[in-house]
Symmetry: C2
Subunit: 476 residues, 2 copies
């Protein structure tokens, strides 16, 4: 390709004018409103093969710009038919990933404002609103006061629980001596913990053998006696217990590790206690579920994901620290080009030092919108409706001649299997998913193949869950 000479006075590109943006924005909102109104009529998962989407796309960026209508047409014709519809009321896979109208519009505003929240000074309202709504969540969920921003601790929004867990591991690692000490450090979690714990310790420079997978009990919760034994053995061998990651609401079955007993072991060993309640934590908006967090007042850090089950778009993980100093010690670096009067005066919070990336979006806006749009009553109704619907499904499974519960139901998660064994359970999954009306995923518990029904989609009602019960019945 010949190198063109730049012209003498290059002209700026033609941008959409604010009036064109207004028209394109209205068209996009209309498309989304129609999508939401009709998503229940689509199959939850698309019947496509790898490469099908790319085959529809041109090989290169067009030379000249295209009109907005062409883009929206392709979203309608190429993209939407090739998606797994996470906002479909029949989506019960993995854990839900909640979206809601106010959250979507909060995200729109965040994008339109285009503010960077890396420093207080680069977007004061961005930082202050984040601090404020994370304090709101402490009240809303009955979390320990030590997580409030007016003491040595405080909360911050991370993109995911994986990143929050990584931050906890880094703070714990460096509090225990940092890089020179790594080889002697040990981390503990249960066999049922999320894969992000293993990923986090690997990123932090631990060897695979430095993470102990502590045995779980029959109901898949960490056995605190086994934890204490592992800690004692390691200390006897001259190793240093660095961090214990406990889970409230495990991914496979919603198991809840016994925090009070675990906290006792961690405290005695001088280890950091991080509690991962990514999914289950949202249930704490209801006082009747707060017993799941008993013992949290002894944790060094905690996270849960409003983007899973609290109507707030991904990404929005609420991460709390009892003492923010160790994390800031791990992640603060101050180059000259980021210095500013407010930071130098020590009067402000600069969230860049609380996370891996430097830049950050204005994520508190969508959470603020959700909390105010639904109010305490609406948020509690959201959780209670799903817990009741899952409870009804669990009763139906327990009474079914060819189905059985594979674990105690936990909040709105029901694990089940076919009485005829793994092949029958796997066939049931395939049959239910093939209807297009519902989508389940699987796990293994006690080495048996198990179906998970994670009730919690924004648009999922008790009626949808009853219909799922019918489908399970018909195909079992």
């Amino acid at each position: 390709m010949a190198t063109p000479e730049p012209t003498e006075s290059p002209q700026p590109p033609r941008h959409q004018t604010p009036e064109e943006f207004r028209a394109a924005g209205h068209a996009t909102v209309d498309w989304l409103a129609d999508y939401l109104a009709g998503v229940a009529d689509r199959p939850v998962t698309p019947g496509i093969a790898p490469g099908d989407v790319r085959a529809l796309l041109p090989d290169r960026v067009p030379e000249a710009g295209e009109p907005f209508e062409a883009l929206l047409d392709d979203v309608d014709q190429v993209v939407a038919p090739a998606l797994t519809h996470w906002q479909h009321p029949g989506f019960y896979g993995y854990f839900p990933c909640n979206s809601s109208p106010p959250a979507v519009l909060g995200e729109l505003l965040s994008a339109g404002l285009g503010t960077q929240g890396m420093l207080w000074s680069t977007g004061p309202a961005c930082t202050e609103l984040e601090i404020h709504v994370l304090d709101w969540l402490v009240d809303l969920c009955g979390l320990p006061d030590r997580f409030r921003s007016d003491g040595p601790g405080g909360g911050v929004i991370q993109d995911s629980a994986s990143s929050a867990t990584l931050c906890a591991i880094l703070a714990a690692r460096d509090r225990a001596g940092g890089a020179p000490a790594i080889a002697n450090l040990v981390a503990y979690t249960s066999t049922e913990a999320h894969s992000s714990v293993e990923k986090g310790v690997r990123i932090a420079g631990f060897e695979a053998g430095q993470l102990r997978a502590v045995a779980a009990d029959a109901d898949h919760a960490m056995d605190p006696v086994a934890l204490a034994e592992a800690v004692a053995a390691d200390r006897a061998a001259g190793l240093v217990p660095c961090i214990v990651v406990a889970t409230v609401g495990s991914t496979s079955s919603g198991a809840v590790d016994p925090l009070p007993a675990i906290a006792e072991v961690a405290a005695e060993a001088g280890a950091w206690l991080h509690v991962d309640a990514a999914w289950a934590g949202s249930a704490a908006v209801c006082p009747e579920h707060r017993h799941l967090l008993e013992g949290l007042d002894r944790a060094d850090s905690y996270c849960f994901n409003p983007h899973k089950w609290l109507l707030t778009n991904f990404d929005c993980t609420a991460f709390y620290l009892a003492d923010r100093a160790p994390l800031l010690d791990s992640l603060s670096i101050l180059p000259e080009y980021l210095r500013n009067a407010a930071s130098d005066a020590g009067e402000v919070v600069d969230f860049r030092d609380w996370q891996v990336p430097l830049g950050r979006r204005f994520r508190s806006l969508k959470l603020w919108f959700v909390l105010r749009s639904y109010g305490v009553e609406g948020l509690q109704a959201h959780i209670r409706h799903h817990v009741a619907a899952a409870g009804a499904l669990a009763e139906r499974v327990a009474a079914h001649p060819r189905l059985e519960l594979a674990a105690p139901p936990s909040l709105a998660l029901v694990c089940l299997r076919h009485v005829d064994g793994d092949d029958a359970t796997e066939a049931l999954l395939a049959a239910v998913n093939a209807t297009g009306e519902a989508f389940l995923t699987h796990t293994r518990l006690h080495d048996r193949y198990v179906l998970r029904v994670a009730v919690g989609g924004t648009w999922t009602t008790a009626g949808h869950v009853e219909r799922l019960g019918d489908l399970l019945d018909a195909h079992a």
Copy 2:
């Protein structure tokens, strides 16, 4: 607080209906269109003190939900007046963080669809569109073919260059022996490199002393002779060169490290070469700027940020690998609950293994919208217009009796200072920023206080930059 009894048949929360969402969405789009039309009339930075925003917010989540109008009113009255306006045409601080109408609407659709792109199967179009547009960028920017998805390499969208650099460090660390070998590994970057390099190696478990800050030349580019000497000394001491991070377009002054000579040293030492062109990389849409990337065909990984200077909303870092295997070796963990037929068959890309978090938004949608809306011509015009405007400002500074260039102008970045010294330069910064018409930030070069003018805002034209020249003249 007394624990309320949950009702027998909990009702679902009242959601906005699709028609209510339509109305609220239109109102939000209208507010944003008005914001964009008027942002140039606001002061770039707000005149507020720490705590001013929080003082306006109620202490708790409301019991009952609030109407959408109340939320939008507070955005207008409480939030917008307390922001630094990154999309203001007079914003020249840090590096630009581009937003554009099509990118904002792509982000809106991503939020509304609420798809998770962690696996191909959880959103096939999400994964395939991402692969496709990252291949598009290879052509658009004249990048080496080794970064295409049809060979052993490929591209992925990360949230930030910090995260991309961390991924490169992890892959390099583990390729060089992983955790057991860390104590013998050494990383290299220049004294002018971004702070994310130091942050990344600390996260990966290196001690501070294992990162060599290689000397830069008079123009702030890494000195490859100094690099070779440092590598030789380390090898003689029995240490293992693990990774070299080179910079194309440094944060302070836009300096460009000499990639061919650096690649030679890295290759000879068996070290990974990562090239960070976070800001400058967007300029490669213009053939006349591709010489900056000479030598990139020998890099193991590369990143640049369409969210800085290519009209695409944060977060959107394009991260490329010549060989994806080492990164996947570092970050892949496969729990049962994520297994699926497509992944098991090895037919698909699962981007969760290419990044720290598990979950991921549908970020390629906004990039696809931008590339198609502007086309090659529009993207080149965007870059060329800013480079020419910065060039004109640089000429004016060079000819000014009381101002001088503090470094060679680089693309659209101009570094300048007052001839009377640091105090005068600092006073000039304060005076220009106090006008509210423009916003600059500073750095230090050769230990002198320097003002940076980073031209590149979406709405910044040559006329705006000329006006900045007038302001500098008036206050110098």
